[in-house]
Symmetry: C2
Subunit: 578 residues, 2 copies
């Protein structure tokens, strides 16, 4: 590391004495000696700060137990029982944008009778036919408290055969159903709209097999993602997907919504990693596609129809998934860039130079970082207080600590010399790495604390992505704080517009403009959240009519009575677009 030292811009100190081992800042006016003690831009209290980070992380886990952040295996119910629900509601019970959906109940659906209840008790037993109001209240509400159904019944099947019997009966009786996993979705996809029967998958939570030679895991759909991660960790493997909601979300729900998450840039989408599914169709037929083979070209690969169809074509009951071996060397750098073009160039360089060890490339703009610094407790900017326009988080994952570190350092030095990075820090341990990640992952929480927020999850060509943020700022002027962050490596922008209070005039300035702009640039109006109820009628912004018509035909073929998760995913009428 002689070359790095020679720049005179790096700090190195013992992790126990202070926080940031190494600083990259060729432009800093403070040329800082390479010592453990001597650096002077507001980091005098790092140790305490990091303690606060840790305290904060625990707090965060509790506060957001319903949704997008891990909470160490707690279910929503655990939180309620511990009296945490009200606190959660205070923070989250706000309006999150998007024009209200006006939906009429489909009159072809039956309403629940006492005979139905008796029938279900006959199949599932008393305790798995839930009519308790408190439990139904949770099942009827999404974690953002934006959507609220009025279901009177929640069923908890324990086997595929029970799911099959439930659906066969509901189909014959024209009873609409909502499959529900961890209920962590953001688009109203996993809660009833009216009185649909909730089919809760939580009790189907067994690991069926794991093959260490091939890395193939077979499990039931109700397994909580975090539990699978822990199970695999003990075997020396990891799940190919990871997301903030892992403590609540279930693998069946992940697959039904084609969850993206933090590892997509490295391990690809679920369409690539899911090897097989068992699915129950609307009429109760069990479709056994539960292969455990990496290669199988025998006919149409039907499982893909169910990945990302949000429970509207069938209920996923079992899953076979390819899991990568666990790699032990993780490095995280938090960097500042002067402009968006530098972020893009840095991404290209990182793909080429870090190659096989690059595992995340996230970005946030200065307004996003400001929100995190202003609204979350105990968070500190690891960089000096100079204002930078953009921040990038790079993570590498590999199998050799020393080599990976050297490689990342060499890359950062090169990028710094080339002017792509204005400043930066490299985490020295997992606590620091977590703290850096929290600067990026804390943005949604900070936004929710800041006021009303209009949230958009968009995919766009990387080079156009930030233009939308700029245009939105011009459009809204001082009336709103427009924030951009997301998975730059995946071309996924989380556009968030924060205002003190929710109002329809602001919304009218945002929508449909945001969808039209995205559509005009061939983007996706839902990169990873799905369409659910929120965007079912907006599908035409991202998909041509002919394609939507074919989706509708497939839905009709597989679920002629439309009992599976009605009012979601597909538009309520296709005629106006024909």
């Amino acid at each position: 590391m002689e070359k790095l030292r020679a720049t005179g811009r790096f700090l190195r100190y013992s992790p126990r004495k202070s926080l940031f081992d190494r600083r990259l800042n060729p432009n800093s006016e403070n040329s800082i000696p390479n010592s453990a003690s001597g650096y002077g831009h507001g980091f005098g209290e790092q140790c305490r700060d990091f303690q606060l980070y840790n305290d904060h992380n625990r707090k965060r886990n509790v506060q957001t137990c319903f949704g997008f952040y891990g909470h160490q295996g707690k279910t929503a119910r655990d939180c309620i029982e511990k009296g945490l629900l009200e606190d959660t509601r205070r923070i989250q019970h706000r309006c999150f944008g998007s024009l209200a959906e006006k939906v009429q109940r489909d009159p072809s659906f039956s309403t629940l009778s006492s005979d139905d209840i008796s029938y279900f008790k006959g199949i599932l037993g008393e305790k798995n036919v839930v009519q308790d109001e408190e439990r139904l209240a949770i099942a009827n509400t999404d974690w953002m408290h934006k959507y609220k159904g009025s279901s009177k019944l929640l069923l908890q099947p324990q086997t595929t055969e029970e799911v099959s019997q439930i659906l066969k009966y509901c189909n014959s009786r024209s009873l609409a159903v909502v499959p529900q996993g961890g209920n962590t979705g953001l688009v109203g996809g996993s809660v009833p709209v009216f009185d649909e029967v909730v089919i809760n998958m939580s009790l189907m939570n067994n690991v069926i097999s794991f093959d260490k030679v091939s890395g193939i895991l077979v499990c039931e759909a109700g397994c909580i993602l975090e539990n699978l991660i822990t199970f695999l960790d003990n075997q020396g493997f990891i799940m190919p997907l990871d997301l903030g909601a892992k403590g609540s979300c279930q693998i069946g729900g992940n697959i039904s919504t084609n969850a993206g998450g933090l590892r997509l840039v490295r391990y690809g989408s679920l369409h690539g990693t899911v090897l097989g599914l068992e699915v129950v169709l609307a009429n109760g037929d069990i479709l056994d596609m539960l292969g455990t083979l990496r290669k199988d070209n025998t006919g149409y690969d039907l499982k893909h129809l169910f990945i990302g169809s949000e429970g509207s074509l069938g209920i996923v009951t079992k899953v076979s998934i390819l899991t990568p071996p666990k790699l032990f060397s993780v490095n995280v750098a938090f960097l500042a860039c002067q402009d968006y073009f530098s972020c893009q160039k840095l991404l290209v360089e990182a793909k080429g130079k870090l190659g096989e060890i690059l595992s995340a490339f996230e970005f946030l703009d200065s307004k996003a970082l400001d929100l995190v610094l202003n609204h979350l407790d105990g968070v500190r900017n690891p960089l000096p207080p100079t204002i930078h326009n953009f921040y990038v988080l790079i993570e590498t994952t590999g199998s050799d600590e020393t080599y990976d570190r050297q490689k990342l350092e060499a890359f950062l030095l090169h990028a710094m010399e080339g002017g792509l990075i204005s400043d930066g820090v490299l985490a020295q341990d997992m606590n620091q790495a977590s703290a850096f990640w929290y600067l990026r992952e804390g943005v949604p929480e900070a936004l929710m604390k800041a006021g009303a927020v209009y949230k958009y999850d968009l995919s766009l060509p990387v080079e156009k992505m930030y233009d939308l943020v700029d245009e939105m700022r011009t459009r809204l002027g001082d009336s709103a704080n427009v924030v951009g962050y997301g998975h730059l490596g995946d071309g996924n922008l989380h556009l968030n517009i924060s205002t003190p209070q929710y109002d329809d005039r602001t919304l009218a300035q945002i929508e449909p403009f945001v969808y039209e702009w995205t559509s005009a640039h061939r983007g996706s109006i839902s990169a990873e959240h799905g369409l659910g109820l929120m965007k079912a009628n907006k599908i035409f912004y991202s998909k041509p009519t002919a394609t939507v018509k074919l989706m509708t035909s497939i839905k009709k073929m597989l679920d002629p009575k439309g009992i599976l998760n009605p009012y979601k995913v597909l538009p309520h009428s296709i005629d106006s677009h024909s």
Copy 2:
């Protein structure tokens, strides 16, 4: 590398002086000093041998220009024009097993009229409506000369709109069609069975766009894979798939057959890397799913229906695909293992220890290697003549020459010390790497030269995979040479049974046993070759009736008259299995 040297088992020499820089053999009786000159187990002529390898490679490129091996961009037609066709036929015109398919022409299809020809000339112009007998002879025959159709017409559209017009017309006239790319398939999927109109995609061969930031390539379906590889190479990227047929096969065909190939273990299947498709349906409707986004959760992801459906649901006209950055450091080791269990354990170790740089893990048994050594010119076993039961080829691809090399060497040393490897060599340059690869890739060619061959492409759980080879040997006794090789990392076994001549009694001993055995172990009867005509009726060995019924319903929905690639993929009757 002190540790390696300390074993006293390694050879090192200058590549110009001799061939194999480094040998690993802790069990060898010849303890060989680490010098450039002193090693003595039959490698005195290495330089000449490698020269021969190179000569041979050139020869191979010519001989197999029709099919599975690259031929540097030559088309089948080029080969014919250069008088090479007869030579190719002499080698390949043998019987390749599988019970003959008895198919009746579907009487609902029309026969071609002069009005039809006039109509097509009106759309495509004279020269792209081909009736020339010589060209039709090529289009009517698969590269193995096993299947032969009698089409009288080949159409060469240049645009999606032309494909649309052709299909709209054919659908209205009930004229059956066969989409044809490079015609390199092994299961009779890309040639007419009777008089179907051939729709040749070769003229739709333009690269539409390439985005260096995201690595996303958009191109027409008729682009030859090798041309795309070359194009990307100049941009610092690679295709996520590579296969022997790259010199002839087209990306549209690759996608329609869900080609696996050599990079699957590293970059995953096309379901993960293909981001978008444009497809023309049987009725001429153009389905625009040509997204260029890594994430897009807006409705059902319909493109997956067309990946691997062998042209029976629509004709792929354009492709959007994610391409990884090119990594410059490639290492190849050729290793010997005592038993199949060691191969499996080595795979597990390699996944864990080589982690992110592992890019291939292939195996062949001693009978496969013997065939290569006995039937291909100028090939030498880089290992001493001790008989080993199994051979493994490991390839790593990374971004750092020195590090990757050290990592692989450390891994090999560890595996050797643990007894997993009996012997091994590490390639010192690309020529040696190619020569090692040829020991594995040359097996199909050697089999064809050895006599009649019954070929099976199977996916099986890795731990069971070789049991089938053993059982087949017991079953056939001395009457046949049973050979096993394939992509161990993908669980893909190429089971080949070589006999001096083809005869029905041998076949009856092999089939249906091989399919029943595969089915009983939940394997796939076609890992990567597809079903085509050859295995359409055998789909039930790998897929349950309910799943096949759903496939049939989808086929009926998208192609009610069944004009697209008839008699292929799906069984000719489903009733007997209902």
